[in-house]
């Protein structure tokens, strides 16, 4: 290895002198030592630039992945919320229908007397009060409350005339 290095150094000095003497190529003093340092510094800077470029690329890839994931989560969450609302709506609807159904079903088991009593108390009164509030029907309804004797005398009077 040392032999190779010595040969290489000899060859380099031979090349140097050939270029200087025959071609007149000169170089600044201590050029190769300073150039070596410059090259090493530049390659190191280049390496760091490449590293930071790679870092930026990696970060942007990670950021885009995060963005995709976040938008995915957002869409999924939104979809889930919608489902919940509709599910709630459906369950409410089913509850109310069940409630209505239960009234209908329960009514089947009430005795007829109680129903007619309820009808007489609430519905009949309601109908009568409604009818009373309607002016055209007043005559007819009032006639219902006239005594039969008065009605007979009234009809006799009309007929005899």
């Amino acid at each position: 290895m040392k032999q190779i290095q010595n040969n290489s150094e000899d060859f380099d000095s031979l090349i140097d002198s050939k270029h200087k003497n025959q071609l007149g190529f000169d170089i600044p003093e201590n050029y190769f030592a300073t150039a070596k340092q410059e090259i090493l510094t530049r390659t190191l800077q280049h390496k760091q630039k490449n590293k930071s470029k790679q870092l930026i690329i990696r970060l942007s890839i990670a950021a885009s992945f995060m963005l995709i994931i976040l938008s995915g989560v957002f869409v999924w969450k939104h979809h889930t919320n919608n489902t919940t609302i509709s599910e709630v709506q459906i369950s409410n609807q089913s509850l109310s229908s069940n409630f209505n159904n239960s009234i209908l079903f329960n009514s089947l088991f009430i005795e007829d007397d109680k129903i007619s009593e309820y009808f007489t108390e609430n519905i009949t009164h309601y109908i009568i009060s409604e009818e009373l509030n309607t002016p055209n029907n007043n005559l007819f309804l009032n006639s219902l409350f006239v005594n039969d004797a008065d009605l007979d005398s009234y009809t006799l009077e009309i007929l005899t005339l």
């Binding site: 290895m1 090349i15 140097d16 270029h19 170089i27 190769f32 390659t43 390496k47």
Partner: protein
Amino acid sequence: MNEQEQTILQKLLHPNLKEKAFEKLLEMYQKKLYWYIRKIVLTHDDANDVLQNTFIRIFNNIESFKGKSSLKTWIYTIAHNEAIRYISQKKIHVSLHDISNQYMNTLKQDVFFDGEKLSETFHTVLSQLSEKQRIIFNLKYFDDLTFNEMAEILSINENTIKSTYYNTVKIIESQITL
């Protein structure tokens, strides 16, 4: 590829050893590449720029070296391409007729050119050669590369290189004594 090249290549491909191995590679080829580039671009400042670009390219692309050629010829090929790219960007050579004048003018502008009688005569002869003749002559005469290595670097048939070289030597010898 010789043993020394294989060892240094293995280290260059190892992430932890790369920087140290690159420094070694720099020591091995810095002077050789500088002189090779200088003969193409002619001035010291241009040679310095091209040399730096060459080594940065080597450092960045060492992983792509497939080992089809020797490491030495791969490095010389990068230097050659960088130098040719540089002079085409700077348009140093305008046309064939202007080559000789441009060559001599570029040389004389460089503060690091010592225009002694022999040097100027040598350069005058070199400037009258075609670029291909000049590069082949320089690679053999000054850089001491083998015909096989030159064929790899320039991607030219070895026999073509040999015949070009010997013809060029005859042309030069007819004007100066080497």
